[in-house]
Amino acid sequence: MPALLVLAACGGQGADSAETAADGRQAAEKVTVAHAQGNTDVPKNPQKVVVFDVGVLATLDELGVKVAGVPAVENLPDHLAKYAGDEYTKVGSLFEPDYEKVNALEPDLIIVAARSAAAYGELAKIAPTVDLSVDFSDFLGSFRRRIEALGTIFGKEAEVKQRLDAIDAAVQEAKAKADDRTGLIVLTTGGKMSAYGPGSRFGLIHDVIGVKAADPNIKADTHGEAITAEFIAKADPDILYVIDRDSAIGENGEAAQKVLDNALVNGTKAAKNDKIVYLEPFTWYVAPNALSSVENMVKAVGDSLS
């Protein structure tokens, strides 16, 4: 679907959209960005950008956009490791901004999402701020609108369109492979397990690609539902998707493999058919809203269905 059409459709519903508003009286061109917490006029091609979200940071990096301020994050993956360096001002943590540092930077644009969304109100007093949180109940749709907003702000519309179209194609391809097989999403941390279902932060597997949920009753809760190995044995999924939270944050605690290596899990169809899929923790847990993350997520689920 052409990007313009999507924009028009969204604008018509008054929902999230990104459109250019030519302002004749001012020299600097502005765009109005519809985001998770309202509409904000932001300058086109802003020079000083502060980003609080790793997913958005990764996306801007891929689009070749320079940023000025980033949160202090330990254990960034290799391709983002440079942002831990001193040339990028550390403007706080993923959750909590350091307002003085943000203020001192005099940014043209501040971008928050998910973990930092609560700081929106305070940050908006400093500079134009947009909240690019994705909505897990409409993951792909809201993701597309957020990425398109970034494309519009930074004048990367063509590149964004090309990559989003490629994702759409990959989704269709993966969907075609989703047959009657069931999947169960499990996150492990500190030796314990919780299950996630449709509509959750990992719901892309069920909602977008269409893998059947082994247990349709799991609530879409941020922290999942505490489960036992018996639960996995009973659900007996064809594919077990595993996110190792501890390795996502660089901790070498009880690895997911160790937690899941027990007689009950080993008896499931997923284990017998070698379909316990360990999802890349950074992509799925830390930055699921990055352009490359969604590409990788769709690919990973597609591969698991082959």
Binding site: E74, N75, T189, G190, G191, K192, M193, A195, D215, E225, A226, I227, T228, A229, E230, F231, A233, K234, R245, D246, I249, G250, E251, N252, G253, V259, N262, A263, L264, G267
Partner: protein, 331 residues
Amino acid sequence: MTRRRSAGRLRAWHLAAGVALLTALAAASLLVGVGDVTPAGLLGGRDEDLHLLVESRLPRLLAVLLAGTAMSVAGLVMMHITGNRFVSPSTAGTTESATLGVLVATLFAGGEAVIVKMALAVACALLGTFVFMTILRRLTFRDMILVPLVGIMFGGVIGAATTFVAYRYDLLQTLGAWTSGDFSAVLRGRYELLWLAGGVTLLGYLYADRFTVAGMGRSFAINLGVRYDRVVNAGLVLASVITAVVVVTVGEIPFVSLIVPNLVTLALGDNLRYALPATALAGAFFVLLCDVAGRLIRFPYEIPVSTVLGVVGSAIFLVLLLRGGRRMGVR
């Protein structure tokens, strides 16, 4: 620890009734879980039922019984050696110290065997408890309420240090995951360390008479020819080891070590020979009841036993304070 009410005596039939009740609950708990285990299937020797029983249900039951027994006995022993009803591993900084030990072990020996983790947890728990005892000896007012308050503050300081370290290393959520007491991860091969806590608990029984005497105060105990310091130290080691083992294997089990010994000594008096087996039974029963409830409330998902214990335990503790406070010498 003066008592104004004559204590009931534990008779053999009390103990027998307790064991019978616990056995019944234990048997019932074997049938509670996500997988299908039925009495008929077990008696008929159905493979799937037996498999689940051996891999999951029986280990979980044993883990609950061992942890419940050990924690309540640790509480009883600490209550005696400090001569204060409200001192338990959770109100003397022992639990928090053990948790700090696990965190340090996770940070610096993450890949090491669990035994290293436990050694560090035991060492930290011991150190923390001894520091608390040192503070206690310097207190002029050894009020029934003041002492545990000091202990809670001390534990708070250690807890704050733990939180700070965890925060610096981005481990807060992980810390939360493994400190909340929870038997959901227990399977065959995942709980066996708890037998160590069980063994130490048995040792406590051998020392019971001496703990009783130590509970009557330093000079009294020395007059009776008991090596007071040695007995107190033995008690501290016992409580610390039990707490550390439980924290490492299943997480913090709140309230049990505080409420169960109090309820039991209210009913039976302070002689540990009687109170110990009753406390062990009651502790096991209490934790098992809460664990089964946690498994049933949101079936097929779980509520951690620590959450259930927190709710039930705080309610009981309030009743204890408000109703029994006068009897226990608290104004």
